[in-house]
């Protein structure tokens, strides 16, 4: 992929993500950009629900994927799956929005590996949508608010059930 075209689609995302790059030691910048685009297809903005960007799906992944409680299997599936997707569809970022969506829809239920990988992305996308904002997703409780969720109290003061 040419550097120019890479930037064409990703300038905004790269700036937004740059401060987190060092945290996600195992996720390359290119992988993140592709993941960001895919998450927008998996969780688009609707009249009732926020988009993946709004609930900060990528940030959630970045802030949590390297925690010791994150299973190695899940981490590998997300990263390797995305790399394999890029290998198979090297021009993905050059496609139009409509074409990107059609591509993801065409593979999600026709290929076992793609389905397993996307299922895992959905799992962590849902975590980002509905977990306590302390984990880096669900920005300003946008996920909880969208479904009129009754929040449980007390809310987390520390991540991962750490003792106070």
């Amino acid at each position: 992929m040419k550097r120019r075209t890479f930037f064409k689609f990703t300038t905004i995302s790269v700036i937004a993500l740059s401060s987190k790059i060092s945290i996600a030691k195992t996720i390359e910048k290119n992988t993140l950009v592709v993941l960001d685009e895919i998450y927008e297809i998996l969780f688009p903005k609707t009249s009732t629900m926020p988009s993946a960007k709004e609930f900060n799906a990528i940030n959630y992944l970045l802030e949590n994927i390297n925690h010791k409680s994150f299973l190695d299997y899940d981490k590998n599936l997300i990263i390797q799956g995305t790399k394999d997707f890029i290998s198979n569809f090297p021009d993905f970022l050059n496609l139009s929005k409509k074409e990107k969506k059609e591509l993801i829809y065409s593979i999600v239920n026709t290929n076992d590996y793609a389905q397993t990988w996307i299922s895992k992305l959905l799992t962590f996308g849902i975590e980002a949508l509905f977990s306590d904002p302390i984990y880096g997703g669900n920005t300003s409780q946008v996920g909880w608010n969208s479904i009129n969720h009754n929040i449980g109290y007390p809310r987390a003061k520390k991540r991962y059930g750490q003792k106070l």
Binding site: L122, I126, S131, I147, H149, A156, K163, L164
Partner: protein, 554 residues
């Protein structure tokens, strides 16, 4: 230091012993595998409490193998591959911190199942060596000390009680109970209200339930839930006779020339081996891990594991057979604002079929799907029309919105007896070791066809009520798989040392100073969660030890 009593574990089977013996003045030391969390450490954080291994080991480090009968042979599957987690809470108070707390007693005929119904083919059903009458006053004691809220229901199988009422009035009911009660009557079902080990009013040290909407699977932030930690261990600490060593992973029991336990060997948080000496040992690490520890404690006195010269340790493991029947409710059955009322309990069960003329039945407990949204949303990612297909994009987003804002799922949790049999047991295998090099527990989960038939029978009753209530998308997932949080058996008690591990006081037949007081002792488990009975039995054993301590250590 030589302690009077060493207790391994601190959950429901350990708490009453710790409470009673420390109050008696004995120096008690608890070896707890996990950490000590205070009430204020708990929150309603779904990620921390439910979705990560916060209170349990990471399966990649410590796992079990589950042995299933596939293609005509038994095959072992490590749980780090399957994700089927049999850990339920490594922390002070154990899994009692996370229970939903519905507390049903066993009934008199649960103690004499073989006599009432005869022995089912291929089963190992036996009567208990004690009767309901022996246990009744301890059930009563649990209701008062642990704190049980409820209303005694009038139905055919209601067991005899020495106290007319529960010590705490019933918790508030969810509005859907009006619909349940009305239609249960029309179907001829009795209205059975669920007693819970959750306080409905304040006590001196614990606050009443505040209906947080996040109860089962979450630690309690008011102290209302009757965990072993809140109700027993915190009061026991005030005696100054109790020492708790946390992050102590017990890996072996040593015996001496008298074939008594001399010490417990444990790994501390740094992984260093330590040894603790005591005069009397209580094992209560939850059924599977208790059997594992005994089986791994091999020496010249006990080449097959401590208390296992009769080869009975690990045998006749029990869980609860059943599954779940679910139905979706929306405004067509009950006004939406009532349906969406958060926090309140359904507190109803179908118990008319607990015993039938021909066979032992069971019960169905009604509970709304837990409130935590991540777990629920993950079900919605699958297409209802074609469950092999994922939903993504607008279709997924619309389904999430519609499901969460207009529907609620009521589950009928089926509880049927798990019939003890030769293919339900715990063993250890040198081929499968945890991160510390200790053989893990292998859990063979064989069940009898009979159990599935009983569960299906109970499911039909549940479906009948759900249909009558106007539930939509009713689905039934009946299976004979164990519930990983419901564990009993493995060291059954009995009068015959050739066929049981423990005597009727849960003292090992082969080891005078060893008692096993978690659910391991149960020869049959009844059709209810085990926690209430484990608590009651542990109080019973505590009384026996208090009365006989000098003799027991001589």
């Amino acid at each position: 230091m030589m302690y009077d009593v060493c207790v391994i574990g601190s959950g429901a089977g350990a708490g009453p012993i710790i409470y009673e013996l420390s109050k008696k003045g004995l120096k008690v030391c608890v070896l707890e595998k996990g950490d000590f969390y205070k009430r204020t450490d708990f929150s309603k954080d779904e990620i921390g409490a439910v979705r990560r291994s916060t209170y349990t080991p990471k399966l990649e480090d410590e796992y079990h193998t589950v042995e299933e009968f596939i293609d005509n042979e038994w095959k072992k599957f490590p749980t780090y591959d399957t994700g089927w987690d049999f850990w339920n809470g490594n922390l002070v108070g154990g899994s009692s911190n996370f229970m939903s707390g519905f507390f049903y007693r066993l009934k008199p005929d649960d103690f004499r199942l073989a006599s009432r119904y005869g022995k089912i083919k291929d089963s190992n059903i036996v009567d208990w060596p004690i009767s309901y009458d022996d246990m009744e006053r301890y059930y009563d004691k649990v209701e008062k000390i642990i704190g049980v809220s409820g209303e005694v229901s009038d139905y055919e199988h209601q067991e005899p009680r020495s106290s007319q009422n529960f010590p705490y009035k019933a918790l508030k009911d969810h509005p859907i109970t009006k619909l349940i009660d009305k239609l249960s009557k029309e179907l001829g079902f009795s209205i059975v209200k669920t007693p819970r080990a959750i306080l409905s009013s304040d006590t001196q040290n614990r606050s009443a339930c505040y209906y947080s909407n996040y109860c089962g699977s979450f630690g309690c932030s008011s102290g209302a839930k009757g965990s072993s930690r809140e109700a027993l261990i915190l009061p026991a600490l005030k005696t100054k006779n109790l020492t708790i060593i946390t992050n102590a992973n017990v890996i072996k029991l040593n015996t001496n020339k008298d074939k008594k336990i001399s010490s417990a060997v444990y790994l501390n948080s740094q992984g260093n081996k330590k040894e603790l000496k005591a005069k009397l040992f209580i094992l209560a690490a939850q059924a599977i891990e208790s059997s594992r520890l005994l089986l791994n404690s091999k020496d010249e006195n006990f080449p097959n594991g401590v208390a296992n010269n009769s080869s009975n340790v690990g045998k006749n493991l029990l869980s609860s057979s059943g599954g779940i029947v679910s139905g979706e409710f929306d405004k067509s059955s009950i006004p939406l604002n009532e349906l969406m009322t958060p926090g309140l309990f359904v507190n109803r069960a179908i118990k008319d079929f607990y015993f039938t003329k021909e066979f032992k039945g069971g019960m169905a407990e009604m509970v709304f799907e837990h409130a935590n949204p991540i777990r629920r949303a993950n079900f919605f990612k699958w297409d209802q029309e074609n469950s092999n297909n994922l939903l993504i994009g607008k279709e997924l987003q619309d389904k999430l919105f519609k499901s969460f804002t207009t529907t609620k799922t009521l589950n009928m949790e089926i509880f049927a007896d798990w019939t003890p049999n030769d293919n339900s047991f715990v063993s250890v295998d040198e081929k499968y070791k945890d991160i510390n090099g200790i053989p893990v527990a292998n859990i063979r989960i064989g069940t009898l066809k009979h159990d599935l038939e009983v569960s299906s029978f109970l499911a039909q009753k549940s479906i009948k009520l759900l249909k009558k209530m106007g539930a939509k998308n009713i689905s039934s997932q009946i299976n004979a798989l164990p519930s990983s949080n419901l564990q009993a058996g493995g060291c059954r008690f009995g009068d015959d040392s050739k066929t049981s591990v423990l005597n009727k006081y849960c003292q090992a037949h082969e080891v005078k100073n060893l008692f096993v007081t978690d659910g391991s002792f149960m020869p049959t488990g009844g059709s209810v969660p085990f926690t209430f009975t484990i608590y009651a039995n542990s109080f019973r054993i505590a009384d026996y030890i208090k009365e006989n301590y000098t003799k027991l250590i001589s």
